[in-house]
């Protein structure tokens, strides 16, 4: 990837389409392998947590889902910045392809968080800064997807969506700190989520492997999605016609 020529070459959809197609199976396989290894370590080998019993095992999906939900938003904002600065076609398509997966990750983070919270704190939901911010992140994903879906012209959709992503990414720290401040003023029940339990090495490895699994999964799904978007957007170009006359690969 250090070769500048290559990067520019693959910025063209016609060149990126087959490359993405070739990469999908590898990322999918990596996701399955990391997932199996992570589940084996996390669910079968890792010892019981001395504070939280077996309930802590939700961490093996909760933390990766939360990480991915935040990371995907940042990656989308990165593509948005590239797209607005260099006017590249691929950037907007990448951001759009990532959005549904990011929203699902945010949802999973909230869902597993609620199921973790119920036995640990006795309630499905606390207005903790992190949970609240995750909920707002889900709203931001939904807003982005709604905006892009409402605009018929794909170029305008890319740019408007990109601008919204950049505004969102500037606002996320402000939102997070305001919610955090609000939370410290209002905190009734003394639930502290910030003190992390000391983790055994197997637990940590299980969590990291699961995070890699989620990461590879997101890339694979986003690549399939971006390939579909490319065909749709460029349906009047020669390379799409040729691809369609072939087998779609």
């Amino acid at each position: 990837m250090t070769d500048r020529f290559n990067i520019y070459r693959y910025a063209a959809p016609s060149a990126f389409y087959p490359l993405a197609g070739a990469m999908v199976p590898w990322f999918a396989a990596a996701a399955v392998l990391f997932g199996l290894a992570g589940l084996w370590l996390g669910m079968l080998v890792a010892p019981t947590d001395f504070q939280q019993g077996e309930g802590y095992r939700i961490i093996f999906i909760h933390v990766p889902a939360s990480w991915m939900s935040m990371f995907i938003y940042l990656v989308m904002a990165f593509w948005a910045a590239i797209g607005l600065a260099f006017n590249t076609r691929l950037s907007g398509m990448m951001a759009q392809a990532l959005a549904p997966t990011g929203a699902l990750m945010a949802f999973l983070s909230l869902w597993t968080g609620a199921l973790w919270g119920k036995p640990m704190w006795g309630t499905w939901w606390v207005w903790d800064a992190r949970l609240t911010s995750e909920l707002i992140l889900l709203f931001l994903y939904i807003g982005y997807m709604a905006l892009v879906a409402a605009i018929d012209d794909p170029r305008r959709a890319d740019k408007a969506g990109g601008l919204l992503l950049l505004v969102g990414v500037v606002n996320i720290p402000i939102i997070y700190f305001s919610v955090k401040w609000w939370n410290t003023l209002h905190q009734g029940a003394s639930v502290s989520l910030t003190k992390s339990p000391s983790m055994a090495a197997t637990m940590l490895w299980g969590m990291l492997l699961m995070a890699l699994c989620f990461w590879m999964y997101s890339i694979a799904v986003a690549l399939i999605r971006v390939r579909t978007i490319m065909l749709e957007r460029e349906r009047n170009t020669d390379w799409v016609r040729e691809t369609l006359e072939g087998d779609g690969k």
Binding site: M43, L44, V45, A46, P47, T48, G53, E54, G55, R57, I58, I61, H62, A65, P100, T101, L104, F107, L108, W111, T112, L115, W116, K118, P119, Y217, A220, V221, I224, R225, R227, T228, L231, E232, R235, V240, R241, L244, E245, G248
Partner: protein
């Protein structure tokens, strides 16, 4: 090396079974359904674009 003594113990998760399997179940469901939806979407798009292409060819020929 395996932490559990029996399968039923594994399922019970030390009394947290509902919460742990509720989390893992929904996650597994979503991570299984999303690729299926995405792949179907892709196949539908390809089929539709191919139909359009054939229709265009018929008009121009």
């Amino acid at each position: 090396m395996i932490h559990w003594n029996s399968f039923s113990e594994f399922l019970a998760m030390g009394g947290y079974g509902l919460y742990v399997w509720g989390s893992f179940g929904v996650t597994a469901l979503i991570l299984a359904v999303e690729p299926i939806v995405v792949a179907r979407n892709r196949n539908n798009t390809i089929a539709r674009l191919k139909r359009q292409l054939r229709a265009e060819r018929r008009i121009t020929e």
